[in-house]
Every structure is written in structure tokens, then in C-alpha cells.
Symmetry: C2
Subunit: 277 residues, 2 copies
Amino acid sequence: MELCTTIQAIRQARAALGTVGFVPTMGFLHEGHLSLVRQARAENDAVIVSIFVNPIQFGSAEDLSTYPRALERDVALLQQEGVACVFAPDVAELYPEGFVTQMSLGGVAAALEGTSRPGHFAGVAMVLTKLFNIIQPQRAYFGQKDAQQCAVVRRLVEDVNSPVEIITAPTWREADGLAGSSRNSRLTEEDRKRAPALYRALCHARDCVRAGEHRRTVLEAAMRSVLEAEGLTDIDYAMIVNPETFHTEGEIIPPHALALLAVRVGAVRLIDNMPLL
Amino acid sequence: MELCTTIQAIRQARAALGTVGFVPTMGFLHEGHLSLVRQARAENDAVIVSIFVNPIQFGSAEDLSTYPRALERDVALLQQEGVACVFAPDVAELYPEGFVTQMSLGGVAAALEGTSRPGHFAGVAMVLTKLFNIIQPQRAYFGQKDAQQCAVVRRLVEDVNSPVEIITAPTWREADGLAGSSRNSRLTEEDRKRAPALYRALCHARDCVRAGEHRRTVLEAAMRSVLEAEGLTDIDYAMIVNPETFHTEGEIIPPHALALLAVRVGAVRLIDNMPLL
């Protein structure tokens, strides 16, 4: 496996590969990432993984500085998974002095995370535009845990006619239902025990829908009550949207309904989601 | 030669070619375009030319609706030049319903045309991002006549790490010095006679610099006086900038000086430029 830190090096390494499946990450890898890597390996000649904590998608300097990192461990994990190249540039390699271009997205990028984290998706769109141009993969892999990001990336790729095929893989979960996230490592022991309430709240909404409840306000309140019973009251959003548009108008109509949560658990903001089928 | 109107068709046609030189145009081709095509042919296995009047780079609906078009004649010209494919999509093919992504650029895109035509370069950046993704050329060719556009495109390509090499070719001129432009076709007979005053004003500035004049205000006034002597008083700008930054501060320092004009000649807005060496 090759570890590249410059654009020139990864371009040269990529040129020797056939079809490439690309897994963009911010590092501190967990089983969710590795499940994407395994799928990418099965569907392409070779896999490239990027590890880059993209500063322009963070709204808060604090969140950026505390984002967990473990490059050596990540590289060892990826070597075991048969990855061909890891691309781990520093910030100046991707955003040198003089960098001015920005992207902006409306539509699916406007609500939820777009409201809670202004500029977040613009930063995601820019770094992916750059990484896709550098790596030129056939396919790129994203986890369903970041459901809105998946929708935004699909919109972006369609709008700019990128030749990259976007693959969304199911959310990887711990045994107690907690969705895999690098941020989980920052939970205290006690908060780790409370965190699966997100999953339980989503399952509860799904069960209510299966029992015939289609009123958005009732379902959203049902999710909040599960969270609040666990003492999780700092809720950014607990919403049900149309997964194509991320709009929230009117009564929900399964299967066109996706429940999404963003909740602060102690010092850590977690997100999760589930289709209501 | 193949004429493609859909993204699917041009992608399929492109896949059968080796290295590709790409000449993006808005059609109504003149000798300036054809000189780019010839250079592209000499430097690549095959040439693809796009013909697309990009609505999102026009500020005024009037300028867009009166932009000259002659697809049949253009296609015949390109066939004579040995072009492999022409890509001439309609507006809905590149901007279907639901399109939301925007690009914005600062730096070299902020001044001059960026001020006179808000949104112009954002529109140029978007259509080129799309066309580069669709056509995946090795090289793309632009005329020095659109000097600021060349600087913006270089900045864009660097910022998004596009693998496309940007080639700038010298401005093609009529015998009397008028720079080749599709908009020249909209000049009345009388205005056509006055239009070479832009070239003469630029030459005058260059001659003043060669005679030792380095004061920006004097040189800019000298250009204006040549234009005004021809009755051309509707001057958007007559400026000298640093060609790397497009900034205008301080005394000019050849060879880091580029004189630029945007002048309305009758109903037609013309631009031209010349390095002051």
C-alpha cells in the first residue's frame, strides 16, 4: 500500500491502477468506513482512501480542533483491508495561498444540516470536487448515516456532470444500535450509554408509522420523547422529510419519508437517520 | 465529424478518441476560433468543439437574445478543419430542472468584467466545470482576447485541481487591428469603421510605455483620448492591471502590465487587451 501526501504523488499512483473505488474520509476510521472499503474493493480493481479533515466544512474552530485523529492506526487498518493507496494531504496541499473558488448549493443542502451548520455542505462540495478531480475514481462510496450529505453529493455530481458514480451504503451500527461515527470516540462513558437513544427514537418513529401514524407532528414529538426520557434535550432537529427533496411539508407518505436526528450528547453532536417504511 | 447534442452521445464519442484538445465556444465562429482549433489539432490526437450560448453567464436578457448564432455554418467550418466532434447541446441538456449548484470566484474575477457583468465569471466557471467533466479533454484552448477569462479559468482549474491543461493563444486580429469577436457581426458599417480605435488605443499605451511613461493615470487617459477622438465615449473601463492579480494599485511595472478596454461601439460592447512590454 502506498501512502501519498501530495497531489502529484497520488496522481502518479492512481495512473497505474485500473478502475478505482474511492472512499473519502476524515480519518479516525471505524467499522462503518471499513465496510465501505470492503464494498469498494469488491466492485473495483483498486481502492483509494483519502484521510483529510477538511477545515472549510467546519463551522466551529472548536469542533475542527477537537476532531479525533489517528493517522498511523488508520493506515495500518487500511493496509489490512487491501487498499491500494491512501491520500493524506495537509491543509496547504489542498488549499494553498491564493485559493478563492467557492461552491454553493441550494435545494437539498438548504435544510437541516444546512441550517445548523452554514457553509458545511459548500465545504463538502468543494473538497469532493477537488478529490474527484485528483483521484478520478469510477465510483465513490458514502455511508447512509450522512443521509443529507449523500443527497447533496448526488445533486452536486449531477449538476456538474461529474463522471463519478455515487454509491450509498447502509449505516453501520454498534450492537446497541449506535451509528458508527468518529465522533463517538469523544463520548464520555456515561454519554456513550445514552447515545443509542437516537437509534431507539428512530425505531420508535418507524414502529409508529407501521402502526398507521402518518402525522408528522405526532411522529416528531414521539422521537423527542424517547430522547428526552434519556435526558437528551439539546436537540438540533428531530424531523421527517421527503428523502428526495428534504422538504418537510404536509403529512408523511411512506416510503417517501426519512426521519433525521441531530442531538448533542454531552459535548458531542451526533446525527442519525432511518427510512420510515 | 460527429455532431452530438446530448451528454450521453458526446461521452460515447469521446471514449473512442485518444488525447483530446477542447475548444469551448458560443458559436458564430470566426478566424480567432479557427486558429484555436488548428492549434488544438496540432497538439492532440483529436479536437472537440462545443457550441453553447451559456445563459447563466449573461447578465442581460437582451444581450443573450441578440447573441449571434449560425450553427449550420459553424458545423461546416469545423468539418473543414478536421474536428472530430461538435457538442451543441440545448439549454435544458446542461441545466435541467432542479439544477441548483453555483460557483463563485474572487481574486482575479472581482475586477473589470467581474464588476461590469456581475455573475458573468461564475457562469463561465460553471459551464466550463460541466464541459470539462463531460468531455474530459487533456487540453482546453482560450483566446488571449478574453484575458481576464483566461486568468479566471487558470485560477478555477488550479483551485479545483482539474486535470485539464489550459492553453492561451494570441488574439486573432483583422487587418485593421480589430480583435476577432462574434459580436463584431452586430456592428453597423459605420461602427465597424470606428471599432479599430480600441486596438489603436492599446497600441498608443504600449508606445507611451516604450517611451518611458509609467504613470497609470497618464496611460489610461491616453487610451481614453484615442477612443474619444473616434467618438467612442461609452467606456466601461480603460485600465492597466497586473496580469497575475488584475489589481490596479500603484505605478505600472512592465512587463507586469496589461492594458484592458471595454467600450460600447454603437449597440455592441467590445473588449480588447494588450500586454505593455
